[in-house]
């Protein structure tokens, strides 16, 4: 049977990268040359309009500035002129901007280990034997993903309000602790990170749980035969096997952290100044572009953030790879 050769290995078709090779001379009529382009055209056009053009425009804007002539009154008094790299100079010398970057880094150092630690823990618990409430637990912990970040942040923000904080009243009733100010200078990092942990744990848990479920069960059976207990199986077998998924969630979380906006922005008005208008880099970009009306500086800041994010995710990729796969004979 000649058709036998056309059956792909499952692995090849899974990646989607292989395409059937047109076998001519068997009555096969190849698709018209233009057809594939019409299939991908809408996506490519939208991509250009929504991603590439704005990206290029940002780069362009970041090299411009407003020149004010005379008193700055009248129609022609404000002109856009080339500024070279002067906006970037301003960004690099802007203490407020770098403080917001520092805050995002601190925020990420709190958020990512806790969120991914919890996500891994819950995923392992969901996959373990002899644990109750697994089905309900999976749904319940995933549920915050269904709550828009902004609305979740608003709910937490109101729970932090001293006037009707259920956290404070519970702590008071249970331990006699009184009046924690959730918007205090240091504690505000924990307060905002908590919102991120609450909203992000469920999704990451599901990613890790799904990869746990796809592991071959035979490995555990062999370990059980050798007398390993559930905890040992979880830590020594399952955890190493889902490392790639953990790395991926770490990278995505790192990228998300530096662009954190919704959580702090949702509560900055009700936080009595605990969350400033330039609390995170994106909030600074927003303030400079809109409130201070300097789109050129905002564009330069955006590009600086994008480059930092790129470098950061590349670094995370390298470090986690080395740490996690370093011990393997590979």
């Amino acid at each position: 049977m000649t058709t036998a050769t056309s059956v792909h290995e499952p692995a090849a078709s899974l990646t989607g990268a292989r395409r059937v090779r047109p076998r001519r001379g068997r009555g096969f009529r190849p698709a018209p040359r233009r057809t594939p382009y019409t299939f991908v055209a809408p996506a490519v056009l939208l991509f250009v309009a929504v991603f590439l053009v704005p990206l290029g425009y940002t780069v362009y804007l970041s090299t411009q500035k407003t020149q004010v002539s005379g008193l700055g009154l009248g129609a022609g008094a404000r002109k856009q002129v080339a500024a070279g790299f002067s906006n970037y100079g301003t960004v690099f010398g802007d203490g407020e901007f770098w403080q917001s970057v520092l805050r995002a880094v601190i925020y990420g150092c709190i958020l990512i280990p806790i969120m991914l630690g919890l996500a891994t823990l819950f995923a392992l618990v969901l996959d373990a034997q002899r644990v109750r409430f697994q089905r309900f637990g999976r749904l319940a912990i995933f549920l915050p993903y269904a709550v828009p970040t902004l609305i979740g942040s608003m709910i937490w923000g109101m729970m932090y309000l001293p006037a009707f904080s259920p956290i404070n009243s519970t702590l008071h009733a249970l331990f006699g602790i009184q009046g924690i100010n959730f918007f205090g200078q240091r504690i505000v990092f924990l307060s905002v990170a908590n919102i991120g942990v609450w909203g992000g744990t469920g999704f990451n848990m599901m990613v890790l749980y799904t990869s746990l479920r796809s592991l071959p069960q035979e490995a555990y059976e062999a370990a059980r035969l050798d007398g390993a207990n559930e905890r040992q199986i979880a830590l020594r077998i399952k955890l190493p096997m889902i490392r790639p998924a953990v790395i991926m969630t770490a990278i995505f979380s790192t990228i998300a952290t530096l662009q954190v906006f919704n959580e702090p922005y949702a509560i900055h008005q009700i936080s009595y100044g605990g969350v400033s208008t330039t609390w995170t880099p994106l909030m600074t970009v927003y303030r400079d572009t809109y409130t201070a009306n300097n789109i050129y500086l905002g564009a330069a800041e955006s590009i600086v953030i994008a480059v930092m994010m790129f470098v950061l995710s590349a670094a995370v990729l390298r470090i986690t790879n080395r740490q996690i796969f370093g011990g393997e004979a590979k």
Binding site: R29, L46, Q134, P144, A146, T210, I295, I303
Partner: protein, 290 residues
């Protein structure tokens, strides 16, 4: 050797053994943590503003219906406009996104053409470009072509989803066998007809997943509509409630509106979650659609 036989049957029905206490305890704590804010907001939405202050945190109040009516009447029922807008942005955007992703995923998976590698890589790299960098220039461009503060300003950027295209390509590769397409071609079916009659039905479970992820992403989006829109009657829920919360800092009476509004705005998504559970695949490498 009895140990060996029972253990090797371990995949078969698990024997009822005692519950492990520590992992179950961990899971219960996780459930409490995840549900607590939702329970709190449900209870808080039943209180008057004074009851919010005076009642214990988890003691229900008696003004759920009154709060609902106040919200209903707020600025001529603008809340329901926000709800409809959100449904329109999320529903319309997600459908269009699934269509565009299906077309592109199928095209990338089932054809060989010259620019394929380049175009696909370009779109994948797009996944890495942060929304931060794009939102503001997108607004400036949209303002330039006169689309600021229109439905299109929110809808169009929501249609393209690099992740959706990536998934659609995986789904097309895994669930549409090339042999069937060849058979269709030999029978004289045109490329479009083959796509519509064979490709789409076979990819449909995957397309539902793409639709759902995009639906949630648009439903949750705040920054884009916040930048693009200036008239209140075009706001989605996230932006509308945010302006309410902001106003609440000077008018605390609005807090009870924010609370009931938050409850009403998360209910549809929670329902969607429970109803469409089986479509939530978060296996990011998920190619195998059954």
């Amino acid at each position: 050797m009895s140990i060996l036989t029972t253990a090797s049957q371990g995949m078969a029905p698990r024997r009822k053994r005692r519950t492990s206490i520590v992992p179950t305890g961990v899971l219960v704590l996780g459930i409490v943590y995840a549900l607590l804010p939702i329970i709190w907001v449900l209870i808080a939405s039943t209180k008057t503003t004074t009851q919010l202050d005076s009642y214990a945190a988890f003691r229900p109040g008696n003004s759920l219906w009154a709060n609902f009516q106040t919200l209903n009447a707020y600025q001529g029922g603008v809340f329901w406009t926000w709800m409809l807008n959100t449904a329109l942005y999320a529903g319309g955007g997600a459908i269009l996104s699934a269509v565009v992703s299906a077309l592109a995923g199928y095209g990338f998976s089932k054809y060989r053409f010259r620019a394929k590698g380049f175009l696909f890589t370009m779109i994948l790299v797009g996944m890495l470009v942060p929304a931060v960098v794009l939102a503001i220039p997108q607004y400036l461009l949209v303002a330039k072509i006169g689309l600021a503060d229109t439905y299109w300003a929110v809808l169009i950027p929501s249609i393209i989803s690099p992740y959706g295209i990536y998934l659609a390509r995986l789904y097309a590769g895994a669930s549409v066998p090339d042999e069937i397409l060849e058979a269709a071609r030999m029978d004289g079916s045109s490329e479009w007809r083959t796509f519509l009659r064979i490709g789409i039905p076979m990819m449909s479970p995957g397309l539902v997943t793409i639709f759902l992820f995009q639906f949630v992403a648009i439903w949750n989006n705040f920054l884009l509509p916040w930048l693009m829109l200036s008239s209140e009657n075009k706001y989605p829920l996230t932006v509308g409630l945010f302006t309410l919360l902001d106003a609440g800092t000077s008018q605390p009476a609005l807090y009870s509106l924010v609370l009931i509004g938050a409850v009403l705005s998360i209910l549809p998504l929670i329902l969607l979650f429970f109803l469409l559970q089986r479509f939530w695949r978060v296996d990011l490498g998920a190619g195998s659609v059954k």
